[in-house]
Symmetry: C2
Subunit: 493 residues, 2 copies
């Protein structure tokens, strides 16, 4: 990272090499939806996937073979690799949407990006989407989810990159296990286990088999793609809602913490700062929103129904999942005011670190609040007083100056990106609270909708959302990369 | 400040002593509006002021004499004194509004608070306000303005309190002159000079004499009280608007910088970080809002008129003045979207440090942006690289870690207070963009209105605004004070 502008040939080669590797993987997973097409007799969708798969495999094998990887990939290369792979991966995963004739290539790219980043905004009119395409949509989110966790636990958690550096900064073990490969395997097992459990739970709650698989994929990955325009409200089934809430919370919880819990160390959950932050926000948010819905008789003057709608929407916002039981157009009208404001705040705060979720992250919020409290304490106590600056998150973590400043930098950059995006979108849409809501939904990879972003939205707006989904998913890293290049260029002159 | 809960008797006495001093001053200035009443033949307003003056003088003399000040007032006592004096002063200045029968005591207190904090929200129906009462309204703002500058340059700039500590942190001279008394005198002279110039300019631009004095008072103090419900739009005079813009910018500029400039050191203005921050925001904001107004044909599809309305509202928001040419009800409807969003952002950013204005302050924004830039640089450059961490503001200022963290703490607290206030007000008003706008207007002591806060608003909402005006004016200090007491109590246990 020290000299971003001087990317050595060998580094470039290893980036291309790994890109090839991902293309091959994509080419292979594209064969899975063909099974769905065969089962449901949607034969016309077989060829798009075959063509897409061939394109992907050919490109992949060429890059993988031609650009041999001579040595271990460096951190710098890994960072640039993850920055680009979301774009390249989406470009390829968009092919089936496009080749099937369902979407324009631009919209197909959006759909793929929204899938891999587990955001969940859709360019489909869901009343006419096929089983095959719906499976592909959910599958991209499921793949994106595992990709995000692995990326967060390995590349993004490296020193000098961002706040996750804490995992290594104090000489603690940086990863669940020493190598990326090992980490990925453990995470994959946990992820597969949770997926299976989720499918069973959804089935037991009363969903058809296809729907169970679909929603297990999109809920655990906090992706939020839906089978119907009305999302899961169409089931009118409180058990399904409860299962969805549990699965979304599972997906939004740090997978390093899941690993610790699964090893039997249950106490860790209650000691963890993220648990505290998330439950305070969840309960506080639910009560406030329920009060708002009840006062305004949005779902009748009924405290139970108000709580039901409130809890679901608060969970989906806080876990950045984006499944919804509230109608999108209701959110922009009847939820306007306190309802939309609280959801917006929760979406910006976002999910747990090293989870499938997005946003600023519970960990960073916890660090900031604690940091501010220590700051006030040190300001007001005698200078001799010693303040313990520790938090508990998958082990004790000492919070040093550096970490606090990096966290501040992250939040500041996040807000700047948010404000700029809001300003641009406001040139096309005038309803401020709706724009604040949906831009937060895009940047934090939530996908909760209020009927603003639709297939017929202007290209510029879609572009802003795509860039936001990308920046949000990569935790501001692309911005820092651009800044780095700017800094380097200022220096060189 | 080290032990807030242990306020020594002698310190309490000096706080009461100085409170008495301010009451005496208030009792004396209350005699001035009587002259206005005599000139305009509004004799029925004479007795309310005489009664108020007597009450104020009696209380003042009692406190001043009974609680003798044995030694120099300590910083701690001074901080508590300024925290309380805005409340006590407002309680007294409210008397004439109440005794004249114009307002209930609660509304009178609000009006006085809005005056002294130079916020400018009014409980009056201005179509029926008398000359005498209007003079008193403007006069409280003018008095508040000078009070704020003196407070900012002396008490609030002391070490350990807030960001203004920079004035002393690096061994530089903390004040314009060594003592509060001396500082106050210099500031008063500058303030009087500017007031005279403002009156003349308004008169030359075409205002009647009374109006010139009124608006000189409320524009220079960035107070924003108006003579008419439609504020100064009723003049339909571009020269008056230009004069108002200049006077508001004067009032929102650091008076320590004014002092330097008046001594002939003109270059300082162009080197100062606040000048850069303010002009970037002013020009950028004006262009964006003008584009918005033009696109939406809010004032006709006319680029000149759009610029005229845009520039005035941007200046009034950025200087936290609150005079307006745009109709309040237009702001909540036709300005909704980009217009209201930009104004809200500018109000939160606020005016210059050590000026009559409110908000986060240009200086703090400058420090944060610079700080973030240094952070990114240090993250990306070799560790051996030396980064100069200086800004220019009334002299060179080295920005150390401590100062950056204090600035971060300030902004964080400001946003927390803002969000909590928004949530409370949302229980009474549903229009989110309007609530975001007016709460920012209150907390940053702006007073720009969009017809939300009116004399008939619920008591809770008025109370939230009063507390916000107070917290905003005291630069979050009351919150820190409360926190301090909380910290002390946690320790004592
Ligand atoms: K999502
Ligand atoms: K004001």
């Amino acid at each position: 990272m020290r000299s971003v502008h001087k990317l050595k040939k060998i580094e470039l080669y290893s980036i291309i090499h790994y890109t090839g590797y991902i293309c091959i993987l994509l080419g292979l997973v594209m064969l899975v939806p063909i099974i769905v097409a065969l089962i449901y007799g949607e034969y016309k969708f077989i060829t798009p996937f075959i063509y897409s798969s061939i394109v992907s495999l050919v490109i992949g094998i060429l890059l993988f073979k031609k650009f041999n990887n001579k040595k271990e990939i460096s951190l710098k290369s890994a960072m640039i690799f993850v920055t680009l792979i979301w774009l390249i991966g989406s470009a390829i995963a968009a092919l089936p949407y496009y080749l099937s004739g369902d979407l324009s290539y631009f919209n197909a790219f959006f759909e793929a990006m929204s899938g891999f980043t587990t955001t969940g905004f859709s360019m489909y009119n869901l009343d006419h989407a096929s089983f095959t395409m719906n499976f592909w949509r959910a599958f991209t989110q499921w793949l994106g989810g595992i990709g995000i966790i692995v990326m967060a636990l390995t590349v993004l958690s490296s020193p000098g990159v961002n706040i996750m550096r804490m995992y290594s900064a104090e000489g603690r073990e940086e990863r669940l296990a020493p190598s990326i490969r090992h980490t990925s395997r453990i995470i994959l097992y946990i992820y597969l286990l949770y997926t299976a459990i989720s499918i069973i739970l959804f089935k037991l709650a009363g969903m058809p088999v296809f729907d169970s698989i679909f929603y297990a994929f999109t809920a655990l990955s906090t992706g939020g793609f839906a089978l119907e325009n009305a999302s899961i409200s169409i089931y009118h089934n409180i058990w399904i809602e409860l299962v969805a809430m549990i699965v979304m919370i599972l997906g939004a919880t740090n997978f390093a913490l899941h690993y610790t819990l699964l090893k039997g160390n249950w106490r860790e959950y209650f000691k963890d700062i993220e648990s505290k932050v998330s439950w305070i926000l969840l309960i506080g948010g639910t009560l406030l929103v329920a009060l708002f819905l009840y006062n305004g008789s949005v779902y009748g003057h009924d405290i139970f129904t108000s709580l039901r709608y409130s809890a679901f929407q608060v969970v989906t916002a806080l876990t950045t999942s984006g499944l919804q039981t509230a109608n999108p157009s209701d959110i922009s009208v009847q939820w306007d005011g306190l309802g939309i404001f609280i959801l917006t705040l929760l979406m910006i705060i976002g999910a747990g670190a090293c989870s499938t979720g997005g946003g600023i992250k519970w960990l960073r919020i916890g660090i900031l609040v604690k940091g501010m409290w220590w700051e006030i304490k040190s300001l007001l106590l005698p200078q001799s007083a010693v303040i313990s600056r520790k938090i508990h998150h998958v082990g004790d973590i000492k919070i040093n100056e550096n970490l606090l400043r990096l966290t501040g930098l992250f939040v500041f950059s996040y807000i700047v990106v948010y404000i700029i995006s809001v300003i641009i979108v406001l040139f096309y849409y005038q309803n401020l609270s709706q724009v604040l809501f949906e831009v937060a939904s895009g940047l934090s990879n939530v996908g909760l909708g209020s009927s603003l972003l639709t297939p017929s939205s202007p290209m510029v707006v879609k572009l802003v959302f795509m860039i936001d989904m990308w920046i949000g998913r990569l935790e501001i890293w692309p911005i820092l990369l651009l800044m780095a290049i700017a800094v380097q260029n200022t220096i060189r002159r």
